[in-house]
Symmetry: C2
Subunit: 367 residues, 2 copies
């Protein structure tokens, strides 16, 4: 069950200089914290994820987004570890974000919500860890935007982690990645139902814009080969082309389905805020152009994981991180997993990833 | 100056079984047809191109889309060759398409226009060549969708061409390419100003939807490296991030500009029809799964050109074409040009492409 913790401090200052009050964090936990408080693992979710990492997601009634990885006797074993998975701030699943009520207006924030950064997300997670009276996390783990949060932990709060596993991520967003996000944002803003972010006043949502944003993004989550193997040029429930604009091809039908389903579970303004946070993330420029300087105080053990078929966060981005860590003498291992599934491989059944995470965590716990 | 030819035959049957009447083709010519009528080159334009291949485009007042390649003393030398460049049927620059007047309703066709194929485009070009009393083209040249037309000439009208140069193209569209096109179509159709294709009745255009479609497509025309080199994470006219949804990054500003400018010169329904034609194109499945069988009667000399940095029509697609041509003993040369510019390299200053086309055409002319 999702717990919610409200922090009544009014000085949670954001990177932008603005502050949020009240600040709430919604989170799930799995397993039990041991007496020594040394078995806690923080899992950071990706752009469209949430706190429902394991068990059944109560909203979709489907297994959590990493249920294949996290659970009893699974690679991240909840009978051994205490798992904490918070919804990021700026999110739409209980933590304070653009759908939360703005105390000044008694309406949802919408675009009055301040722009947040990956640093802000992680800083709020530190409050949660403090609240749970955990001095040092056994590990912090996440893929994609979750991986950015892991890198931010490594850089900004290195003393609070014993180890970290950044997966399929990058120290900053490439020009192409910013470009794809901008297409998604423009698609949402182009929808007249968006109403400058105030769609809640009209009791509608910019479904079509958000759906197009999701469709464009979804292509980037899969490899060209994954799409070709899965759909190729197969037709959808028909043997001949219709010479129309129906979804003749399976891949069209699949994408439309992805778009339609996404709008049922995700908020359009939240999509703007979280993509912006990813675009702004930049551990390189923030450290004078030298990524290694992000890790000056890092003593934790790091395991970097990438996937060969990931073109959104390609292996080369993980290698940059590994180089920087090596330059600071950090204890780092690196595995690039052969896979043709694309970026979403980190969410899928990837035995090499499972073995790596399982073995790495055990070694950290035994240390 | 664009010439227009109307074909009063009422039996121009399309691949769909439907027919168009009247059928008009708008085209430009450059240079002079020689007495022997052996120096004619047909240039086929890409998705968003038109007949203005050389000189100044009278609409944009900018140089034609291949003006660097086509003109007096240029690689395709108009003092030597007679260049014909028609607007494809289904297009919006004078040839019959969805913006043309439907004789039944006296209104623009809109979605009442029949879905057309690459084969239909080429079949109409044969009428034009017949009209110009050209028995055999010295060459037919085109990139991307233009390259698909070239392949269709090679397959369906092999006796009418002495040579052909398909550039940065494929024998069919990959699942990923269909997916990107579908995103563009859905973006257009999501715009309430689209009005099921009848926006002309409301004297508006679905600008925002078409702009988003263009933005998404534009990313696929450039390589990841081209975007990184051109824009990286540079900010646009500012030194710090604004913590807003403004176009902070140059790449965002550039994409928005691409979108806004595109809607000034292109029709939204036409975008639907031409992307559909590309998606439907499939010389492999139409030939029993064996591409080589598309070229059974081909005696022309072929020069296939691809670019190493093109991820929309990657080199592997050109290699499939070359393999198929070799399997039929066709006289084929192949050049994969090292370039980090992406798919749009075929429209840019690529000296290796210029030298190749120039030399190949001269050899064909001298034969």
């Amino acid at each position: 069950m999702t717990k919610k913790i409200a922090f009544d401090s009014n000085n949670f200052t954001l990177s932008s200089g603005k502050s949020i009050f009240p600040l709430e964090i919604a989170y799930e936990t799995f397993g039990k914290l041991n007496k020594e408080r040394t078995n806690a693992i923080l899992i950071c979710h990706a752009l469209t994820g949430e706190q429902y990492v394991s068990d059944i997601n109560p909203i979709t009634k489907k297994p959590g987004w990493w249920d294949i990885l996290v659970g009893k006797n699974k690679p991240i074993d909840t009978s051994k570890y205490f798992i904490i998975c918070p919804n990021v701030i700026g999110g739409c699943m209980g933590s304070t974000g653009p759908t939360s009520i703005n105390p000044k207006t008694k309406q949802p924030y919408g675009l009055a919500f301040p722009v947040i950064t990956i640093h802000d997300m992680v800083k709020s997670q530190v409050l949660l860890i403090d609240h749970l009276e955990i001095d040092k996390l056994l590990s912090v783990i996440g893929g994609s935007m979750g991986g950015m949060q892991v890198l931010e932990w490594m850089s900004s709060f290195p003393k609070r982690i014993k180890s970290a596993i950044p997966i399929a991520t990058a120290a900053n967003h490439s020009s192409q990645n910013i470009a794809f996000h901008e297409v998604g944002r423009q698609a949402i803003m182009a929808d007249p139902n968006w109403h400058d972010g105030k769609y809640f006043e009209y009791k509608i949502v910019p479904e079509k814009g958000l759906s197009v944003a999701r469709m464009a993004a979804h292509i980037t989550y899969l490899s060209e080969m994954a799409l070709q193997n899965k759909f190729g040029r197969n037709l959808q429930d028909r043997s001949i082309k219709t010479f129309s604009f129906d979804a003749d091809f399976q891949v069209e039908s699949y994408l439309r389905y992805q778009g339609i389903n996404f709008v049922k579970r995700f908020d359009a303004n939240t999509y703007l805020y979280l993509t912006r946070a990813m675009d702004y993330f930049d551990l390189i420029s923030e450290n004078g152009g030298v990524l290694a300087n992000a890790f000056n105080d890092l003593k934790a053990s790091i395991c970097v994981i990438s996937f060969s078929g990931d073109w959104l966060f390609p292996t080369s981005e993980s290698k940059k991180i590994v180089h920087a860590l090596n330059a600071k003498g950090v204890d780092v291992s690196f595995i690039d997993i052969e896979s043709n599934k694309g970026h979403d491989a980190f969410l899928m059944d990837e035995p090499d990833m499972f073995l790596t995470i399982n073995g790495f965590l055990q070694a950290q716990f035994d240390k």
